[in-house]
Point group: C2
Chain length 150, copies 2
DNA sequence: TAATTTTGGTTGCAATTGCAACTAAAGTAT
DNA sequence: ATACTTTAGTTGCAATTGCAACCAAAATTA
């Protein structure tokens, strides 16, 4: 019976650990790069959406964003259509950081896929997308206090 | 160009989040299930090895183990051959927890692989093992202060 | 429209996490 | 044998992380 949880966990921790160490040179603390990249790619995104995409608790995302705002890397503006929402954008300082982070991510991705043919790369990416979709419902449910039976 | 980092990160965080919530019923704190399972499967394992397998910082593993020991879930005994080493074992209490954790892991794995044929499952598992191997050297190097160029 | 639920966001804790910096034992040279 | 390096483990910070418990605005329902 194929086991995928452990490899996924180990690889994720390894890559995250590497990124965190490398981005200290950019004065980014642990985890902050995650948010920066997503905001760069979807300017105006709101907190809850960001947390849902990244699969982190919304309070975790909230504090990361607060910190990044305090450090002048991004800014929040009230949404014109919904007074509840705060849209998140990169500042010039944040934009300046983005290319380096992106380059590192691409490099790590390349390291991860060493020895994979283009076809294999595509297939793995496609598999992982499916897994992501599969796990999503359970994540939301458990987060909302629902109980899984097993 | 195929991107795998993000899916791996998101899936890992989701599954870890689910496990952490579910194992609170067993009075296990965040992350502790990881160590418990590995010790169950490799009794006598030492701290550094555990950290290397899980891809966590050794000080992180150290404190998790300390906590689990204090809670009577595992115990450490000095290695008979090397006075530096402390071998880690599960107590009866720890052994009692293991089956539930294992069952949850298998269930989550099943959810993750919903809609995958047996052949696809094997292939994904095999791909992930390769990725794990690929990333390992970089993780060790960066952890030891080495600099990656990109 | 008034009451209820859902959406989006925030603090208060209590815990993990991990980089430095350190000890001691073991291994490897010179 | 003595000095040096690696292995294994530990504490001291300073930060993230996330479950509760909360508030306010929007959407839904009665």
């Amino acid at each position: 019976m194929a086991e995928v949880l452990r490899s996924i966990g180990a690889v994720a921790r390894a890559l995250d650990g590497i990124s965190n160490i490398e981005f200290k040179a950019l004065e980014l603390n642990r985890g902050q790069y995650l948010y920066l990249v997503r905001v760069a790619e979807t300017p105006g995104i709101i907190l809850e959406r960001l947390a849902a995409i990244l699969k982190v608790d919304k309070t975790t995302a909230a504090r990361a964003i607060q910190k990044l705002e305090k450090n002048g890397i991004l800014e929040r503006r009230p949404s014109p259509t919904d007074k509840k929402q705060k849209q998140i954008f990169l500042t010039a300082k944040g934009e300046a950081l983005y290319p380096t982070i992106k380059r590192e991510n691409i490099y790590s991705n390349e390291v991860a896929l060493q020895g994979f043919t283009p076809a294999e790369r595509d297939q793995l990416a496609s598999y992982l997308k499916r897994v992501e979709g599969n796990i999503n419902t359970d994540w939301i449910n458990v987060k909302c206090g629902h109980h899984r039976d097993y």
